[in-house]
Amino acid sequence: MQMRTIEIGVGAFVLAGFLALVVLVVQVSGVSLVLAPTNSHRVMAEFDDVAGLRVRSKVSMAGVTIGRVASIDVDPLYGVAIVEMEIYERSWPLPIDTGARILTEGILGARYIGLMPGGDDEMLEDGGYIQDTQGALVLENLIGDLVTRLGAS
């Protein structure tokens, strides 16, 4: 009987370990599992490179999560990524000259979108496009740039 309780205890411990691992992975990846509040607004943005951004990645302003990535598409004709974001009701509306940048979180490098508020009195419409964007800076491109610059000098 005592054997049995020990076995159950070990089983529970192992399960808890796995659960903790799952929680850790979800936390580290920066993907939020919480469902978006029903009241959210859509904002679109075009980026030249989204490197590593995923659906459900965070959208934040001043470090506060104010939404998440709803979908990522590519325009194959012109090679730009089109990102659709859901912005929660409490952070709406956003000025029309809001800027969007793709940033990296922590040393593991989860990508997220950082919004920078603008100063315009006009506000973005639901489904509107953010004009000023800064795509992800890809390491390989930076190295390539450095190589041509070294070659030149």
Partner: protein, 239 residues
């Protein structure tokens, strides 16, 4: 003699062909845009004409730019004033702080932003020697007919190509003006906005917008890393 003539002919007709294709392509695309927005000059022509004028100015200014930089800045500014919407550009850099700024502060920042940008630009230009500037024809219909992006390529003699993207918007009179630029993938407007915001929150300035505006020129002159190498003056100091 005859052979030379034919090669010259060949070159001329080839060039004519290229220009013709580009023209017809841009015209074909332009026709679609023109129906939505009526403007005398396409933004691509505006950028092309301005860069030609600026290149011509550098050629002339080579002799006096070192001795009389103020004159060079003034002349560059005269070329940029009609085609750059410094007011909107500066406003998007101040962003949230624009709302709290007094009209006097706003005006002072626009001025300081303008002269800072012109100086940085003019300094970068003096470095530019045998390169080539190409304005690419519009590659796709804009989403918003009042806003477009013009792509320019700066090709150095060493073979490096730097893309510069100008965000242009139509003002009330229908003229196209530059509002932002993306140099080699770096959005300058957003970079400046970030810098202004950090400076406004920096305890060094204690949240005093006036002091941030005063220091703005120094803040951005530190910015472009390539410019330190411009210091032709430094070896002269040592000598």
């Amino acid at each position: 003699m005859n052979a030379v003539l034919t090669t010259t002919d060949g070159r001329v007709s080839l060039q004519g062909f290229c220009v013709g294709t580009i023209l017809s392509v841009s015209l074909a695309l332009g026709a679609g845009i023109a129906s939505a927005a009526v403007a005398d000059q396409s933004p691509h022509d505006m950028v092309r004409e301005t860069s030609d004028a600026v290149l011509a100015l550098i050629e002339q200014a080579r002799e006096y730019a070192q001795d009389d930089p103020e004159r060079f800045y003034r002349e560059v500014q005269a070329l940029l004033d009609p085609v750059v919407d410094f007011e909107s550009f500066a406003r998007s850099v101040m962003a949230v702080h624009y709302r709290n700024a007094t009209p006097a502060q706003r005006k002072r920042f626009i001025e300081s932003f303008r002269s800072g940008l012109v100086r940085t630009y003019a300094l970068a230009l003096t470095e530019f020697e045998d390169g080539e500037v190409v304005v690419l024809p519009p590659d796709r219909p804009p989403r918003d007919p009042r806003r477009q992006t013009v792509t320019m390529q700066i090709r150095t003699p060493h073979g490096a190509v730097y893309p510069v993207l100008y965000s242009v918007a139509q003002d009330r009179d229908g003229a196209w003006k530059v509002r932002n630029l993306i140099v080699n993938g770096v959005n300058m407007g957003l970079t400046f906005r970030n810098q202004f915001n950090s400076a406004a929150q920096d305890p060094k300035y204690g949240g005093d917008l006036d002091r941030v505006i005063d220091d703005w020129a120094d803040l951005i002159e530190e910015e472009p890393p390539g410019l330190d190498e411009t210091g032709d003056a430094e070896p002269e100091h040592q000598a």
